[in-house]
């Protein structure tokens, strides 16, 4: 046998090793989490995870456990926490239904590259495969939607598997991992010692930027007459906001953002030209098909951004900066690909390029903006309807908070309205379910975000439909006094589906009309201050009361029933076919 692939120990950083003799597997789980610097976990107990909960009891001073009301709440809270903290959130559940209730959130974290470590209990090893009580093969179920998963059946495996889990979840393109721990492994005793994982021989999470590719990209950029930059969440994940700003200011290239890229670049910056995609701004969508160089940074050309690929940026040379090699050439063929971390590539490019500016090209965006303002924005903001419009609420919230709040959204019209009109000025502020489009995401994600950043104002903006998918998590706000501000934009409709039914299904409104409960009574039942706003003149005061409240606050705003979100690139159409009305 060869000595092939032996891990090279030389040059490895000194790592902190914690040790404790004769501990149970359950205690080892807690010690491992502490060794990873975990301060809080979101979870729900049950039979197969009880030994770990017993260990939590003994460590409650060091490790805060938030008892959610449904496991979906745990995973979304862990996601919200991860997004604002820039490190893995942790969700815990028992076997069987506890584990399967995590699945939606795991899929969401996978497609949105969110680092999450899930720990599930499992029946004892001797019962595996016997259809034991609360046994589900969660390894197989979660396999296509985890970056990595592993079933632990012996206590000694726990520290190294948890170390690997955190390393994998947080390195390279982040993602969710799941560790399934059989009950016997939680109860067995062994001598614990912990070493952080810094390398796995089959795993190459980050490449150094290839300097010849950087050189080629710099040449394309220097020769460009109408370049456009598209920035995605990769900038946020690599904490490259400062480097992006420096690159943008030197290159003079207009910056457009994807849904998940929002808050990476200040919307007030003169180079910011708007947000991309199906309900994005007119300018960046239409100019995608007019630019000569398209520079994509940490984004994956999702179909909600590109529309019909056959009609997407065909005239442009494409530079794709992307950490995941599997994303390169997947949807859009790159002229030059830089496979690396966004920060590293931006720093290298900034050095190579010549300082430029494109006043005429920027003017074209300003013209497009004016057109969008006349046809869409001014109408959205006009107080000319009986009820308040969603856009009015978001505009007022944005102005009052100066774009500095962490804003969590659910999925639908309120989400698109918020991401269109909330003018983000601070980094790590946009928390939404992008790729998966998970209704019910917002409330628990906002809770996780507030736990992660108690110093910042966290506002959850939710539709009446999505709210009812995870509204049980109001209990978490109540129990732990989490000062999340919740705005329900209530139109008594599943608004986005209704919009599609109006536009594409001849006004046949099928199962979108909602008879809602009394939301105020509901919030009050959870001991949360609540207010309902029906009249335009009451909105400003109500928002002030909400924002000024040191505690959680629940604001229901009754909005126009049948407004549509425009602009809109109809599904399957090209970006240039964007409709303003």
């Amino acid at each position: 046998m060869e000595t092939l692939l032996q891990e090279k120990i030389a040059g490895k950083k000194q790592v902190q090793v914690s040790q404790k003799l004769n501990v149970t597997g359950a205690e080892a789980v807690v010690l491992s989490l502490l060794a990873e610097g975990v301060e809080c976990v979101f979870g729900y107990p049950g039979g197969a995870i009880m030994p770990v909960y017993d260990a939590f009891y003994h460590y409650q001073e060091q490790l805060k456990h938030y008892l959610v009301r449904h496991e979906q709440g745990a995973i979304h809270a862990a996601q919200g926490y991860a997004r604002v903290q820039g490190r893995a959130g942790v969700a815990i559940a028992t076997s069987g239904p506890g584990a399967t209730n995590l699945i939606t959130g795991i899929a969401d974290a996978m497609i949105d590259s969110t680092p999450v470590v899930c720990i599930t209990g499992q029946v004892a090893k001797h019962l595996l495969g016997t259809d034991a009580f609360q046994e589900v093969d969660v390894i197989s179920v979660s396999l296509p939607i985890t970056k990595w998963n592993f079933q632990v059946t012996r206590a000694e495996e726990i520290p190294s598997v948890i170390a690997k889990a955190f390393y994998i979840a947080q390195s390279g393109r982040p993602g969710p991992v799941l560790i399934d721990i059989t009950k016997n492994a939680q109860n067995e005793r062994f001598d614990f010692s912990y070493e952080k994982c810094t390398k796995i021989r089959s795993y190459f999470p980050r490449r150094k930027a290839d300097m010849s590719a950087v050189e080629a990209a710099a040449q394309l950029i220097d020769k460009a007459k109408k370049p456009l930059m598209l920035v995605g969440q990769g900038v946020i994940l690599s904490k490259a906001e400062k480097e992006l700003k420096e690159f943008a200011e030197k290159s003079g290239i207009p910056v457009a953002s994807t849904l998940l890229g929002l808050s990476a670049f200040s919307t007030k910056h003169p180079l910011y030209v708007g947000y991309l995609g199906m309900h994005g701004n007119y300018g960046p969508n239409i100019k995608t098909n007019e630019c000569d160089v398209l520079l994509a940074v940490g984004m994956r050309f999702d179909d909600r951004v590109t529309g019909d690929l056959n009609k997407y940026a065909k005239q442009a040379k494409v530079i794709h900066i992307e950490i995941d090699p599997a994303e390169v050439d997947k949807n859009v063929k790159a002229t030059v690909a830089i496979v690396s971390d966004a920060k590293e590539a931006l720093v290298a490019l900034t050095e190579k390029i010549t300082a430029k500016s494109y006043p005429e090209w920027l003017q074209e965006f300003a013209d497009a903006d004016r057109m969008e303002y006349e046809k869409v924005v001014s109408k959205d903001f006009a107080p000319n309807t009986e009820k308040i419009k969603m856009a009015e609420v978001i505009k007022m919230l944005s102005d009052k908070t100066k774009g500095t709040s962490i804003v969590a959204t659910d999925v639908g019209q309120h989400q698109m309205t918020t991401t269109r009109y909330y003018q983000f000025t601070e980094i790590d502020s946009n928390i939404t379910s992008g790729g998966a489009g998970t209704m019910g995401f917002c409330l628990p994600a906002a809770i996780g975000a507030k736990v992660g950043r108690p110093d910042r104002q966290v506002v959850a903006i939710i539709g009446d439909g999505g709210f009812q998918m995870t509204m049980q998590e109001l209990g978490v706000i109540m129990q732990y006094k989490i000062a999340v501000k919740v705005i329900i934009l209530n139109n008594n409709f599943l608004g986005m589906v209704r919009q599609w039914q109006q536009l594409f299904f001849d006004n046949r409104y099928s199962s979108v009309d909602m008879q809602n409960p009394n939301f105020i009574k509901l919030a009050e039942a959870f001991d949360i201050k609540a207010q309902k706003v029906e009249k335009r003149e009451d909105l400003s005061k109500a928002l002030d009361a909400m924002l000024d409240s040191p505690e959680a606050y629940f604001l229901e705003v009754c909005v126009e029933k049948e407004t549509n979100v425009f602009p809109m690139v109809p599904a399957g159409a090209g970006v240039a076919e964007i409709r303003l009305e």
Binding site: L143, N149, P205, K330
Partner: protein, 179 residues
Amino acid sequence: MSAKRFTISVFTENTIGLLHRVTTVFTRRKINIESLTVSETETQGVSRFTIVVIGLEDKIAQVVKQIEKQVEVLKCFFYEDDQIVYQELALYKMPTKVFANSESVEDIIRESNARVLAIEPEFIVIEKTGREHETQALFEKLQPFGILSFVRSGRVAIAKPMKRLQTHLDELESVSLFE
């Protein structure tokens, strides 16, 4: 571009569940696996999956990247038939009496470079290695005599390029950052 036959070699850690992880990449894209063989390589703890699929080159290249993205996959390659040396194996179970009653079966075995693996009172087992069309040709020749059972293995393949797995991994490592 038209669909072609590709042989995919996946080098992986020998861990439980990895087969599932690799095959889901095909399942997601609705690509049928024509054959699949797994064995340990010359390196302890490293397995090689040999997977034969028919598809468009672009699509297969993407699938290969998505397989390589799996944490426990060391490296994944794909080849057209002229870039590899490959072989399959087939077993044919025949009633023993056909040998007693006819000499032509014996001739067929000789001509086909097949061999007899086992002789039992009721049946014999014939083995033939070769490419699919060769094992299929023997199948068709034997069929009139009554084949009791037939099985063909997946393809095994060795790539012609001389670059070794370790060299590929060293190259990857030299351009990688780990923290």
